[in-house]
Assembly symmetry: C2
Homo-oligomer: 941 residues x 2
């Protein structure tokens, strides 16, 4: 028996099904599948991908038997439709389309309306009473066939079209009709402005062009038309575009393309015909109800062209109740079969319904969640499938206000060079200083703070703003990190904006925005508009919580949050965080008046250190005595300032512990360099001097002496605690005392003290000793035999040296928390504040697939994380491993953390739900892979 | 038979030898050894370390038989010396000293003059006719015995001594004698000012103190004195000091201490007695000739006290020819036995020579080299031993001028907080700007350039200076690196200096140094003096070259140099470099007028980039056309500036290739961030604007726009080449054209093009493509089928990410060069310019044993190097691995590079000889370890 090269499909009968994708291509298999479940698909047949393969293997010769099989199937098609190929009275028209097993959109060729010729045109006009449509179809067919099958240059047809249009323009009396550029001409004379005569003229012109280029007449024989088109599709498999596409997308394991020959149906054959699109559920809110729109006596492109307004699908009940009910039935069939919301196209030809296409429907975030949850209730899918139906990005969308899509589309862009640094949308009036932001907000205004970059001094102003824009800095710049922590919209590193803060204006090219002007930020895309766009509020609804609960049942990773205040902690716990993975103590120092106490400490600390060093080195006991007297005054100031901070920090920790309700809290000791806390401009220094009652010069000198060339690699992290052990001591005291106070109120606490920026185990040891000594002193003072809670001491792994010596460090550390921001900075050598300038080039050039600050650079920084995890576990089997960089809220990075077996991820409060879902998906994907692998193994055995 | 607990030694007979260190302790074994080779050592005996062990194991009881053995040996001692213990007429006095197998200086106790009592004192006065000496010895003995053996507080004796001195002071009529502080009192009444009466009084007072604290009289029985002292020595083994010392120095495998009881001899027993020190060769220049000095009728401390001036040892011939000749004989014996230059002490007691001690003698660098080479000629040692006799630091000393030691000791220190950044010594007049340095030098003056820190703009000023001082920056700061490269003395990061450049002065505390004042720098110690110290020139003599040749025969590591100019290359090749491991192309841009062309390029490059990006993103063809017109002018300026640089670079490379005479040359493409090349002060910017004929604002704006928060992690290295591919292209062109030109002159060339700051293999690939394309164009232009030389393309491994993904990178790179400066910066997270502030704390706290910029942090950064080497070789078996950071010239780091099998190290020209010796020593040490291990294995089998 000859091999089967052609597969027939029609409503009642189908040779193929959806599993035959490799043989029939994606489109062919889908059409077969639709027929299998009894959908009224326009009948047709598919020539297999094997034919394509053999065609190329045999020097472009078709395998034996193909001609016969095509011929047989054509006959079957005529029989099924009751129409005839090339018949003047009742002609059958077909489309010829490519379709490989993997979708290669736009890469290969298509021919529509095949079967038309001079005779059939006449017959079709009789049938449709729509000569304009028929002539338009004919001219399009000639052009498409010529272009696709015979390589007639596209431009030749375009030129002829232009000529006709120019003539019409002249007739319409349009000035300079001869000289209009193409764009203007198309505007003055759209395709729809061509009447039957013009189209007839065009058909003649097109035929001439065809002849001129092919040296033969346009073929009137449909058989010839068909075979030329089939050839064209198979040849298009190896055109440059298609080869390049497969190379770029790394598609290597395909035989070739299939060819689909399908009856064409027309919705414009009179008032009993029509066309429409439908969704099996409401794609914007997810309600389980047919949704869609239709037009009678129209083709799909009429809807697209926007000439007529389509009607809501419910009104089809009035037009044709039978068809409407058929669609309702199909809706049920589709969901039962595909187990997902479907988006479908249909055409009604003379009262008969045809389904042209069905596919998974696009939906909003809210709809995605509702549909997934509802379908579980309806027993269409199980919980795990539901979890995979919603993307983490959709969860993100739901947690923030978004712009009205249509309103946003109409708005004028100010800048699109910024990074989507913190999601959501915001509108407000522009201000250029943190102070102004606070003042305007106090006056009841909504503001957007725009700065070159932000620094810790701006925190209060950032709090007062609806959104933040910076001209410099990347995804983990100060602005971005703080904004995400606050759940505030932020566009960072918009490099094309030039900010003139002194003039209180900014510009991109010639567009200038002044103080008080309204702008709108899209923190999810990074685009800034010079309009006030309509906002749609966040939607955290019932189904959302149901889905999150399911995610928690599945995931293996713990989810913690990065939170520095009781308020943030509260939000995060409500969002499902199971503890704090990173509590940055320095942010506490900026609130209210505490910055003053903190600055007092900084202003005297370097002097204390200098004198201490001198005493350490001095050998003369007389001099030493004198120096020890000299150090008393600054030492007192230093201790006094620290003593002022103690109760403030203690209160903060108490608040946080209370909100955590027994969840663990990883507290990082002071990390940033001291100069970050001092004003860098002379004005601020003058103010500080006055406020402190010291000389301006003293302030200026201290600021100067603390300046660093590369602060990221400078005097920060545990290095501060080594130089100034009192800071470590006072922070430990605040933590332990707060924990004791909260425990006394019958609330459980689990403090975990984390030493930042450790590179060498001895750094950790030195700090650990101070912490243990401080705890011992507290126990002694309070006469406690042991603390009524457990304290863990661990470290950040954020320096490459720490990663490769993690076995040594694990001897001392009870837990590791990967600070992937710094690990990326030092691992890749990218300053997060500067790399914005070239990282875009890098991502564009494909050096990194994505900004490594946004999504963990798995092959590089990830390798360091893996090395450290392995070494850590080797030394201490049960070591707790977490990640607390910005990557803790990134789905891809979370997937990686799951794979290498970390204990938890920690992210900003607003990303906690995203992390919960991502962690669940990571588990599900792993399970699927394991299943696949084991079933493959079974097969092999 | 009872165990042997006591070992006797005397000139003619010795129970022990030098191999019995574990049993007899270091001192005991050495005394035995000296006797064995027939040296006239004052006889005595050693109680073994086993006694100490058993003493502690048996609750401080001595093993049986010890008393008897000591008693027997005492008898033997009396017989040998012909003197008697406690005898009034002919008493024997002994010392009792501790001595473990490992030297623990000052940690345990010693008693001298044991055997003195009220009777013996009288007898000894008769013998010596020196009552002052005898009474002084007696009071010292009482104090030492009381303190050491009976725990009488030291302060009690001190107090009594003070009383006596105060009385003398009053007698001398010194004002306020009662109220003088101790320091002043000791100055007014030194020990030598006490006469016999005063000393007698003191003896009485000391005896009273002794009785008061011990409740018994000072023991007159020498046996009792002896056993009390032996107890004291054994007990001192476990005193707090000794335990702490062993802990700190990780000494764990010792039994205990031995006790040495040795006859005391006195050089002050009359004119036929004397004392002296000798060297078997001249320790300052190495001549093979007895060297030393002596004093007749004196004790060792008389020489130290400086009351009498010792005579050159040659004059001993006149004093006592027999003894002189005996010393000459001993000199020969010592060298024959110890195979090294010895430093010995001797005493002549009544015409009899006694050798008290001999040990390896300290020597100057020049002497060390000469002695090592001479001894090989004399067949005393072999070449390998000679190579191990000279330290790399000594080689360093020889290559630079040094201060006259005595003159330096007398000079006033200005600052000692600086780092020894570039060795040697320099004197000069202080200037504060690079410009002044050039001008003053032009006027024929010697200058020292003092700056807070240096930048590339200062290069010419640095060249004009004799030495450089900076107040900030570490061992690899700009100043340090450049100075070492120039072989110029530099003290960097002298943190206690406050520089007021505008006032043209600087100060440390109250000492102010003004412009034009003379200062002296010791670049090997980091000390700065406010005097003009006498300089001793560098000494690269014949033996030096002989030793270097031997080093080359032994070492396995290749030695290359870091050189950027033909002049440096010449020096390095003369010093033995086998190629350039790092040729930094950017340094070339600072010379002469080229900085102007380079700055032209920088000032227009960002504009070109901005326009290019905009064109890349623009979709509107009309706008694109306009932008492409707009870019033409800046693009031309950009290309013009680059074209100006091409011939200059080409000429440089030609010069370097010529000097290399066929050795390979690794050329690193442009590395530093562009802003380093622009002036940062407004004055400089004004000048630049004028020179370029553009507006000041344009210059200022460019400088501002290029500023970075963390330039070390910013837009530099290959990131420049990715943004500005033309820079890579022009540099490649210069290299290849230069190589062609030099080849045409029949000189071989081996260019190796090195891409800096690669973190991801795709960065390397992108640059490699540009290089290969450029080479292809040159070949096409010159109609060459292939280049007449080999070009290798490789990369720096200086980013941690590159280290852990080195297997990927090795797919593309033909060689790796470890840039350990940057690898340390990023691996440890230390900015080399900022870490000076806390790294000292770190080294002091023992976190790092040594500044990781000075000597490779082997356990951390070294691990990254090892990981990368292993991964690299896994992928490409024959990959060439080098190191070109500052560590390439550090002996410990070189030893590590040898161990992990690198191909070569590269260091600054002046360190090439150091590297040659270090590499040879690394091989020798490895061979020794292998031998040791295999012999241990043999033993086990």
């Amino acid at each position: 028996m000859a091999k089967k090269y052609v597969y027939f499909f029609s409503k009642d009968k189908s040779d193929g099904n959806t599993k035959m994708k490799n043989l029939l291509g994606g489109k062919g298999a889908n059409l077969a599948e639709m027929c299998t479940i009894g959908l009224p698909v326009p009948p047709g047949f598919t020539i297999t991908t094997e034919v394509c393969k053999e065609y190329y293997e045999n020097k472009k010769k078709y395998p034996q038997g193909l001609k016969e099989q095509v011929s047989l199937n054509l006959k079957k098609l005529e029989k099924t439709t009751g129409k005839k190929f090339g018949d003047k009275k009742n002609p059958i028209l077909v489309s010829v389309r490519s379709g490989a097993a993997v979708s290669m959109p736009g890469m290969m060729d298509t021919v529509l309306n095949l079967g038309l010729n001079d005779d059939v045109v006449e017959g079709l006009i009789d049938l449709t009473k729509n000569p304009r449509f028929v002539w338009d179809s004919y001219r399009r067919f000639i052009q498409m066939f010529g272009d696709v099958a015979m390589e007639v240059p596209h431009s030749a047809f375009e030129h002829a079209l232009e000529e006709v249009k120019r003539k019409i323009a002249k007739q319409k009396g349009i000035q300079d009709a001869e000289d209009l550029v193409q764009e203007a001409l198309n505007k003055a004379v759209p395709d729809t402005a061509m009447d039957v005569e013009a189209l007839k003229e065009l058909v003649i012109a097109y035929k001439d062009i065809y002849k001129k280029h092919t040296k033969e007449n346009f073929p009137q024989d449909p058989q010839k038309q068909l075979w030329y088109s089939i050839n064209a599709v198979f040849n298009s498999w190896n055109n440059d575009r298609a080869i390049a596409y497969r190379e770029i997308n790394d598609i290597t394991d395909l035989f070739g393309t299939a060819v689909n020959v399908q009856t064409m149906v027309f919705g414009n054959m009179g008032e009993d015909s029509g066309t429409g699109v439908g969704f099996t559920r409401d794609p914007s809110i997810g309600t389980n109800k047919l949704y869609g729109e239709f037009l009678m006596n129209a083709q799909g492109e009429d809807v697209v062209a926007g000439i007529r307004t389509p009607l809501p699908i419910d009104e089809l009940k009035q037009e044709n109740k039978r068809v409407f009910e058929e669609i309702q039935q199909i809706r049920g069939k589709l969901e039962k079969h595909y187990k997902d919301m479907q988006d479908f196209e249909f055409t009604i030809e003379k009262g008969t319904l045809y389904m042209l296409q069905t596919r998974g429907g696009k939906r909003t975030a809210a709809a995605a969640v509702k549909i997934a949850v509802d379908m579980v209730k309806e027993k269409l899918i199980d919980k795990n499938t539901a979890l995979l139906r919603v993307t983490p990005e959709q969860i993100d969308q739901m947690l923030h206000p978004m712009f009205d899509l249509i309103d946003e589309k109409k708005s004028t862009i100010f800048s699109k060079s910024g990074l989507p640094a913190s999601p959501g949308a915001a509108i407000g009036q522009v201000v250029f200083t943190a102070k102004d932001a606070e003042d305007w907000k106090a006056d009841g205004k909504k503001v957007i703070l725009c700065r070159v970059e932000t620094s810790p001094e701006d925190i209060r102003g950032m709090h007062a703003s609806s959104g933040i824009v910076t001209a410099r800095g990347g995804m983990t710049s100060h602005a971005a990190v703080v904004a995400r922590g606050m759940g505030k919209c932020c566009v960072a590193g918009a490099g094309d904006i030039v900010i003139h803060a002194h003039k209180k204006e900014m510009n991109v090219g010639k567009i200038t925005v002044k103080e008080g002007d309204w702008i709108s930020l899209n923190g999810s895309t990074g685009v800034i508009y010079i309009d006030k766009i309509k906002l749609i509020p966040a939607q955290v609804t019932g189904p959302f919580n149901v889905l999150m609960k399911w995610a928690d049942e599945v995931r293996k990773l713990g989810i913690r949050t990065n939170a520095d205040t009781p308020a943030d902690t509260k939000i995060a716990v409500e969002f499902g965080a199971e503890g704090i993975g990173l509590c940055r103590t320095e942010h506490m120092f900026f609130e209210g008046e505490r910055i003053t106490s903190f600055r007092k400490m900084i202003l005297v600390a370097p002097e204390v250190k200098k004198l201490r060093d001198a005493i350490y080195q001095e050998k003369d006991p007389e001099k030493m005595k004198r120096m020890e007297e000299e150090i008393q005054a600054p030492l007192k100031q230093y201790h006094d300032a620290l003593a002022e901070l103690l109760p403030l920090q203690r209160t903060d920790f108490e608040g946080i512990f209370k909100e955590l309700k027994g969840y663990p809290c990883t507290i990082r000791l002071l990390d940033p360099p001291l100069h970050e806390f001092l004003p860098h401009d002379e004005k601020g220094q003058h103010e500080l001097a006055q406020a402190m009652g010291i000389s301006f010069n003293k302030v200026k000198e201290t600021v100067e002496s603390l300046k660093e060339f590369n602060p990221m690699l400078g005097h920060r992290g545990c290095r501060l605690g080594i130089t100034y052990p009192e800071i470590t001591r006072i922070q430990t005291q605040a933590i332990i005392e707060a924990a004791l106070n909260v425990t006394a109120k019958k609330i459980k606490v689990k403090p975990e003290i984390m030493i930042p920026l450790v590179g060498h185990v001895k750094e950790l040891d030195s700090q650990k000793k101070i912490i243990l000594d401080t705890i011992a002193t507290i126990k002694k003072d309070r006469k406690l035999r042991k603390l009524p809670f457990d304290v863990k001491i661990g470290t950040m792994i954020e320096i490459p040296r720490a990663a490769v010596t993690a076995d040594e460090i694990a001897k001392s550390a009870e837990f590791f928390s990967f600070g992937t921001n710094d690990l990326t900075q030092m691992g890749c050598g990218f300053s997060r504040d500067d790399s914005g300038r070239f990282l875009t080039d890098y991502v564009n050039a494909g050096i990194y697939p994505i900004d490594p600050f946004q999504s963990l650079d798995i092959s590089g920084v990830g390798k360091l994380v893996e090395i450290a995890s392995d070494l850590g576990r080797k030394e201490r089997k049960d070591i707790k491993l977490g990640i607390c960089g910005e990557h803790g809220g990134d789905p891809k990075s979370i997937d990686f953390c799951h794979k290498i077996g970390l204990t938890y991820v920690s992210c900003s409060p607003f990303r906690v739900p995203i992390a919960r879902l991502s962690a669940a998906q990571a588990t599900l994907k792993e399970n699927a892979n394991t299943k696949k692998a084991s079933s493959q193994n079974r097969k092999k055995q």
